[in-house]
């Protein structure tokens, strides 16, 4: 994860530099009457310094016996890196992005049904027809609860005229 950490901190450093550059053009005011640019200027500097600190920490050799940088109480990752199925993450991300892209033109019913069928398969259920049946039931329940009961104006897309 060392390279990943350096790349990530480098990206944040770049964001910090852009952020700070934009803050320089905002009215700063004075210490007795700080303007809208005052706080961002301080935050931007903080962002740059901390990102540099993270990069240096990864690059500089660690003293022996020192706690590894990655130990964290709130970390909940239980599986060893080798056991993980990273492919599923990419598939799910692509699926969600696809859903967001087709939601308006195709409408909620078609998009979410397709989303569910694919998601059920990604999570390990391989048979198409039962997956489609499960998705149809979930879509029906969510249509009744969200659209008819909670009155959420979900886009209906190409089904707009059919449903009315």
């Amino acid at each position: 994860m060392k390279l990943g950490s350096i790349v990530f901190a480098g990206l944040i450093l770049a964001v910090g530099l852009v952020y700070e550059g934009m803050a320089l053009y905002m009215p700063r005011g004075s210490l007795s009457y700080p303007g809208p640019g005052f706080f961002p200027l301080v935050i931007g500097a903080f962002l740059i310094v901390t990102a540099l600190g993270c990069i240096l920490q990864e690059v500089l050799p660690r003293k022996t016996g020192e706690r590894p940088a990655s130990s964290s109480l709130s970390s909940q990752d239980s599986a060893a890196p080798g056991d993980r199925n990273v492919k599923k993450t990419f598939q799910l991300m692509a699926l969600m992005l696809g859903y967001a892209l087709v939601l308006k033109p195709l409408g909620f019913l078609i998009s979410i049904c397709a989303f569910l069928v694919v998601a059920i398969r990604i999570f390990g259920y391989r048979r198409w027809l039962p997956a489609l049946a499960m998705a149809a039931v979930i879509v029906a329940v969510s249509y009744v609860s969200f659209v008819l009961w909670l009155k959420v104006p979900l886009p209906m897309g190409i089904l707009e005229e059919v449903i009315g």
Binding site: L47, I120, G124
Partner: protein, 498 residues
Amino acid sequence: MDLFSGLIHGFSVALTPINLLFGFAGAVIGTIIGILPGLGPLGTMALLLSLTYGLDPTAGMILFAGIYFGAMYGGSTTSILLNIPGEAASVVTVIEGYQMARRGRAGAALAVAAVGSFVAGTISLIGLSFLAPTLAMAALRFGPPEYLAVALVGLVIMSRLTGGDLPKSLLMIALGLALGTVGMETVAGYMRYTFKQPLLAQGIDFLPVAMGLFGISEVLVTAEEPLRNMQLKKVRFRELWPTLVEWKRSFWPIIRGSFIGFFVGLVPGPSPVIASMVSYSTESKLDKSGEFGKGAIEGVAGPEAANNSAVGGAYVPLMALGIPFTPAMAVVMAVLLINGINPGPLLMTEKPDLFWGVIASMYIGNFMLLVFNLPLVGVFASIIRTPLYLLMPIVLLLCLVGVYSVNNSLLDIWLMIGFGLLGYLLRRLKYDLAPLVLALVLGPMMERSFREAMMISRGDLSVFLSRPISGTILLVGAIVLAVPPLIGWIKTLLRRTA
């Protein structure tokens, strides 16, 4: 309104059918997600946040209190029966709980965990009932320097206590503060970092950020985990009664765990997790039986009491000061914010129904949870057999529909997916998400307090140190930040000279 009349008023609010229903729903959902490994209380609350929009904020707060407490109860079930912690605060329960189950004492472990949780929950609620109003009264004297000091020190303590790496935690704080500056600045109406996008003028909405960082990223991490073979141990109702010796051995760990949990809960950080670990370590040091690691009941009773008690403690700063010290409390605070309520010391006097109603509902919820986790433990434990391929797509559906429903905005879906990816990457790179989300919530308040303090003091920075309360708070922060590296430096120096 004094404490007792406040509580009586609170019970009259909490016992209305609608609030009872939300308390019940929260307790059931909390128990279920506590039992299910993967999705934790924070992720669930973040995912359900959109559903509280337009809901009576008291009902929303009651629902979330039920979920948070319920998850602490439910977490022990899978730890004991399956050797898998249902959520992070039950990790240490696995050590002794599963060993007890292997020796045929699963029922006793479950009963002690449930009763310990109930006792601790009640003790922490008594603490919350007394401390929150007192602190709120004291906080009425707080000015902008004090608020800035509390928020700043809260972030500093959190960065040290999460156990993560300090530079990484500070980077997360900086990123959260930076995100908090996006949008129209409140004093002069100046647009910052909006890139001429009108939708960003209101700032980055907390809802898609929380749902993405905690909800979506949790689903993504769960999806990657290898499938486990869930072999539940069966527990008969008559086995649920510990022996007299087991009760005696559990008594003091429960009491100690309750107090440890409550006080750890007051401190910024993932308090239920830290509380359970502190309690486990305390009990293992006090152990005389030599059973630790082989199924000592003290190692179940103490941590399970502590993680429940920490929840009550964590509510104190939110209810009294309007400042969340944990990400879960930031999400709870969002229930108020999205319904137009600004939490703070005036909450108790301006919204007594909400303040006392929520506290009273916690007493009722705690009792409901005792019932769910003793006679109904078998029913809830069987939920773990729900296949992931059905559960996770439904969770994702709730996210995608929920986040859209608040503003009917596609931008919120994009933001949620983006922050979901960011949350996933941060988890994989071992960054703590908690400082980021707390800084995002506290950032605008910190900026406002700083600017007001500077205007009041005419640009005199010493105002933060010269006022006794803010000076003391900042001193505590400086000690927390400086002492650990100082001790390390002294130790190295001593080692070299020896």
